[in-house]
């Protein structure tokens, strides 16, 4: 690990103070008890959903080791790489993109330290599609609620999926319950998330998201809720899509 740090800081393009800053941010992103605690708690349920959906789609042995071997995965809005690194360890060839340059540097720096093989780009999904890039699996997890134009975003994500591939989107529903739980509860009462993390008016209902996906020629095959279990302090799949939910679609 010490050697990796030396190699990186020796590079001509990144200055030392920046590296130190990215290291601190990476530690923040990856500290399971830190500010990203909620995302860490959320990670197992969405990872297992993605893994099992891909394994079922490509008929992979559900109990084997490298279940995503040979699949290309694009994580749109990758943040600090919390999804990218585990998916790469399951054998996938992972590309993580984020419009925020800091996030990309943080994710890149962490992957160097952890030894994960992920390629990160400071780019938008629209730019990748313009280049003609496409992937077996495209993920947009907890991103839709932050974009300015949902339809344009869904269109770009859909175009990034190879024919025969999968699109997985996770977001927050626009319901009274999500206002109570995700905004008042998570941001103001429990302080799980910084205030202002989410804008309720930007939340998208499953019907709106699915019709947008359908207009781009993909077939929605699953819609599932994710709920918090206070006893186990964990998140689990549920038929209740009132707050957090995920949508799975096939591209013919």
């Amino acid at each position: 690990m010490a050697e990796a740090a030396k190699d990186f800081s020796g590079s001509a393009t990144v200055d030392q103070a920046e590296v130190a800053r990215f290291d601190r941010l990476a530690d923040t992103w990856w500290d399971a008890k830190g500010p990203m605690r909620t995302l860490h708690k959320f990670n197992p349920v969405r990872l297992s959903y993605i893994r099992d959906a891909a394994a079922a789609h490509w008929n992979r042995n559900p109990t084997g080791g490298l279940r995503l071997e040979g699949l290309s995965v694009l994580d749109v809005g990758c943040g600090g790489g919390l999804l990218c690194e585990p998916l790469s360890r399951l054998g996938a060839t992972v590309t993580g993109i984020d419009p925020a340059r800091t996030n990309v540097e943080v994710a890149r720096r962490h992957a160097e330290r952890s030894g994960a093989q992920v390629s990160y780009r400071n780019d938008t999904v629209e730019a990748l599609v313009e280049e003609g890039a496409s992937f077996d699996v495209v993920l947009a997890m907890e991103v839709v609620e932050h974009v300015a134009d949902v339809d344009a975003f869904v269109e770009a994500c859909s175009r990034a999926v190879k024919p025969g591939g999968l699109l997985v989107m996770a977001t927050l529903n626009r319901t009274l319950k999500s206002f109570a739980l995700a905004i008042v509860g998570a941001e103001y009462v429990l302080r799980w998330l910084p205030r202002g993390t989410h804008d309720w008016k930007k939340f998208v209902t499953p019907e709106e998201l699915e019709s947008s996906i359908g207009r781009n020629g993909l077939a929605v095959t699953d819609r599932i809720g994710v709920v918090y279990d206070p006893l186990g302090d964990s998140w689990r799949l549920s038929s209740d899509v009132g707050v957090n939910y995920m949508v799975l679609a096939d591209k013919p």
């Binding site: 690990m1 990476a26 530690d27 990856w30 500290d31 399971a32 008890k33 860490h40 708690k41 990670n43 197992p44 990872l47 297992s48 893994r51 084997g64 080791g65 490298l66 690194e85 585990p86 998916l87 790469s88 360890r89 399951l90 330290r113 952890s114 030894g115």
Partner: protein, 411 residues
Amino acid sequence: MARRADISNRRFDVVVAGGGIAGFTLALALKSALGGRLSVALCDPALAAPARITRRAYAIAAAPRRMYETLGVWDAIAETAEPIRDMIITDSRTEDPVRPVFLTFLGDADASPFAHMVETDRLTAAVREAALAAGVVPFASPVRRRETDPDGTRVRLQDGTEVTGSLVAACDGAKSRLRDLAGIPMIGWDYGQSGIVATIGHERPHEGRAEEHFMPSGPFAILPLTGDRSSIVWTERTDRVPMVLSLDDDEILAEIEKRFGLHLGRLTLLDRPTAHPLSLKVARRFTADRLALVGDAAHVMHPIAGQGLNYGLRDVAALAEAVTDAASLGLDVGSAEVLETYERARRPDTIGMAVVTDTLNRLFSNDLLPVRLIRDLGLGLVDRMPFLKRRFIREAAGSEGLPRLMQGLPL
């Protein structure tokens, strides 16, 4: 040298410190999962030598036996394992001519045994051999120091080798160095009692019956071994132990006979007795940054209910499960999440059993007339025993709360 450098530069998923039964079983369990994809190192100076001969025996309950079946090592142990088919418990003083039996666990001929008596040496050899064959990487030196950073943890061994991993499992015994380095205190007390352990031969077969006689100085247990042999655990006040151990074979056998009784005929002493001080200790926490305490490193119990090793093996099964579940999602196996899952699975369960063993010992290691009267009224006591009976039976049946390996399921 070159080869060693290659190995020590490798990063392991899990570094196991300590090559006792718990350490090797954990290493083997981890290699049995996910097609052997987890990398596991095991550090113990004993790896440089042939396995130590201890001549001790442990009761392995049904749940850990299922784990050993799942891990494919039970067959290697089975031929020296004696099933316990029946258990009786009496309340007695050595001079009592008749010992009232007030609790029996009648062996059901068709059901599987409560437990097996397993010889430690055979069990250790079997798990050691299986773990090494499964690809566990051995380092024949003990852990001296440990450092942790956000990405991993590194141990320095006594011979200077450094081994890096995502998680360190401290299976280094009751005097765990890793636990001390992490500053985790043990809470508990010494009983002022010692367990005197010996192997006894007898004329008549024991027919798979285990006996526990509650005597004023503490319980005297007779546990069936293969052939016409039994293991005895004679609990004695520690201040009397030097006197007992100074007796010659004939004298000591006479003392054992007083406690053992004559129902199995003439007794012979098959090895010199050894004494082990008894205490109850539970670690304040079972985890620290990228560190999990397992087995005796986490808890030392009174052997009154024969649960010390079994609870250590439950730790093994729970930790192997938490690590495997994280790895199957590509997640960091040494993360705070994994450690929290382990702590939550094991610490309350351990404290529960520690309280049961402690209460039993305080109730029975006692010759005060009022306490004996209460005990010997019997009825009240038998009424109060069903919780213990149920516990044994539930253990044998394997309830749903158990880790997957203990239910006989693969990881």
